[in-house]
């Protein structure tokens, strides 16, 4: 179940590009195809990720890039491998109009900044540059405009700073 790779906490400000913009009620399983959701092998998943959307995706994503979603991003029974695959390529955060609670909770546990930013999906397109101050939920766009979302709670900030809930819990509770 654990992610195949260990991911460090994100920098204070994540700078990258929008790697893809998804629509409303997006089922994260579709990122790798439902038939592949039981694999945690990053190499295997690399060959599957985003194939249905953009066959060149894996080759063009750079560390610090983000994906953008519409309303209710992560709808369904969100499994973990799709985000394993995306993080392995360098996706550092997810910005969406809103998140499905199960996806939000599960990936926050894994230390991914999931920031709800109203208006984001209409304001950016694939390839746009973004700069995300994730603690403040502030996204600076190419043209200098700043979109503001809902800042994470103090506890969630600590989870992300620790590199995920497991690491925070180990720091707090390991005997």
């Amino acid at each position: 179940m654990s992610a195949a790779r260990d991911y460090p906490p994100p920098p204070d400000v994540i700078r990258g590009r929008v790697a893809w913009v998804f629509g409303d009620d997006f089922d994260i399983d579709l990122v790798i195809g439902v038939e592949n959701i039981k694999s945690y092998d990053a190499e295997f998943l690399r060959g599957k990720v985003m194939r249905a959307y953009d066959p060149g995706f894996a080759d063009r994503v750079r560390p610090g890039d983000v994906i953008v979603g519409g309303r209710n991003f992560g709808y369904g029974h969100p499994h973990y491998p799709p985000m394993v695959a995306l993080r392995d390529l360098g996706i550092a955060a997810v910005l969406a109009e809103s998140f499905s609670p199960g996806f939000w909770r599960g990936e926050t546990y894994n230390g991914v900044p999931l920031i709800a930013v109203p208006g984001i999906s209409a304001e950016v397109t694939t390839g746009d540059g973004v700069s995300l101050d994730w603690r403040k939920a502030a996204v600076t766009l190419d043209d200098g405009r700043i979109l503001r979302g809902t800042p994470p709670s103090d506890r969630v900030v600590r989870v992300i700073e620790a590199g995920g809930s497991l690491k925070l819990l180990l720091a707090e509770h390991a005997r």
């Binding site: 179940m1 309303r71 029974h77 998140f99 609670p101 546990y109 707090e172």
Partner: protein
């Protein structure tokens, strides 16, 4: 401003006089529930032991584990998964309930889902506990936080209230209500909130229809759902309670994100198209008339209780499942199975050609008799995304037990009224 049911339950569990929607604070669950599943419970037990160095639990009675998945193949791999779970539960002194049915139902029968209780699970369908005035919250892997610390950090959710009036028309049930709510308000209509059900329509609703309704809360984006505990819920709870409990009612001046009213008598049979339960996929059953089905399924943590089996028996009595259709009926628990047998319902279903299967989760997630490419299934399962019940090239339509049974008779999607039984 007063408090909602969820705010009152979380305040009690947090040891506070009051909490408000938007507060972020640690809360102590009454029960921390899980089912054994590869990559979840086995890994979490190993982490608790190896990574956190926990050798004994201060309150093992707060931990509850069910074995309700992967009961039907009996191969070495699944036996190993179950044995790991048995070993860990024995090591920590945790109560393990094996093969008694789907845990989200059995937790009620065993007296965990009591009015006012706060329950967590990694699986969101624990929200079915809301039928009894309990708050059940699916917290994904954060269950580990509660396992190792006894508490879990939560953001207190806002609540949307649903005032229910009237009673379901014949051939209509709470599945039709939840799909209508999604159609009206969207798959995120109650995102990150709790759905609070009340009113004369709620009080008239049988307890297991309430369980099915609350168990589907996540498909509105909600984190949970809860009924105002009434005499029906309290009577059930008193009969099974293993501890004292404190029912919580909302204050008259509680603050709600929204209030919606539904007259249950106006609802019609609804069917959800394959893909997801999102609003645009919800249809009137009549619109899909003629769509052929090869499989029909009545079961799952949402819809395999005695009312669902009674509904199926009403539709199937004296009729036969259509040639070329396989109808599988899975009572939600062993207790439900026995009651259905005692009431003669299973005989009716068998005579009609239905297959009655052992109580488990296995049909709903495609472990038992997975769908083959090209098949259409009409299902009371919880989810109809691609590949959920087998091949990614099969189609899953969702409907009530009435609608599934009627479709099995017709061989095409039909409502109970269309086959003359409602």
């Amino acid at each position: 401003m007063g408090s909602t049911i969820a705010e009152k339950i979380l305040a009690r569990a947090a040891g506070k006089d009051r909490v408000h929607a938007g507060d972020s604070l640690p809360v102590r669950p009454d029960y921390m529930i899980a089912y054994d599943f590869p990559g979840y419970t086995d890994v979490m037990f190993r982490q608790m032991h190896d990574d956190f160095g926990i050798r004994s639990l201060a309150e093992p009675e707060r931990y509850v584990v069910f074995i309700d998945h992967m009961l039907t193949r009996g191969n070495a791999k699944e036996q190993e998964v179950h044995q790991v779970t048995r070993d860990w539960c024995e090591f920590y002194g945790i109560e393990l309930h094996e093969a008694r049915g789907i845990g989200h139902q059995v937790m009620a029968e065993l007296g965990y889902a009591l009015p006012g209780n706060f329950l967590i699970h990694f699986d969101g369908h624990v929200s079915g506990a809301g039928a009894f005035g309990a708050l059940g919250w699916g917290v994904r892997r954060d269950l580990l936080e509660a396992w190792v610390s006894g508490q879990i950090f939560l953001d207190v959710p806002a609540t949307t209230r649903f005032e229910l009036t009237g009673e379901f028309a014949p051939g209509v049930d709470s599945r039709d209500l939840v799909h209508q709510i999604i159609a009206d308000h969207g798959a995120d209509g109650c995102a990150h909130q709790v759905m609070e059900y009340a009113g004369p329509g709620a009080r008239a609703m049988p307890i297991d229809r309430r369980q099915g309704l609350c168990g589907m809360a996540m498909f509105t984006g909600a984190v949970s759902a809860v009924f105002e505990p009434d005499e029906t819920a309290l009577a059930y709870a008193r009969n099974v309670a293993r501890t004292d409990f404190t029912p919580q009612l909302p204050d008259a001046d509680a603050e709600y994100a929204a209030v919606h009213t539904y007259d249950l008598a106006t609802l019609r049979p609804r069917v959800v198209l394959p893909g997801s339960a999102r609003s645009a996929n919800t249809r009137d059953a009549a619109e899909l008339a003629g769509t052929p089905v090869t499989k029909a399924f009545i079961g799952s943590c949402a819809s395999g209780r005695i009312e669902d089996i009674r509904a199926a028996a009403l539709v199937l009595d004296g009729r036969s499942v259509a040639p070329g259709v396989e109808l599988n009926v899975v009572p939600t628990s062993e207790a439900v199975h026995r009651q259905a047998e005692d009431e003669g319902l299973l005989d009716v279903l068998r005579t009609a050609g239905a297959n009655i299967a052992r109580s488990s989760c296995d049909f709903c997630f495609g472990y038992q008799k997975p769908l083959q490419a090209g098949e259409n299934c009409i299902s009371t399962g919880v989810l109809n995304i691609s590949g959920r019940m087998g091949s990614t090239e099969s189609n899953i339509y969702l409907g009530s037990a009435f609608t599934v049974a009627a479709s099995a008779v017709a061989g095409t999607i039909s409502s109970a009224g269309e086959v003359g039984r409602s």
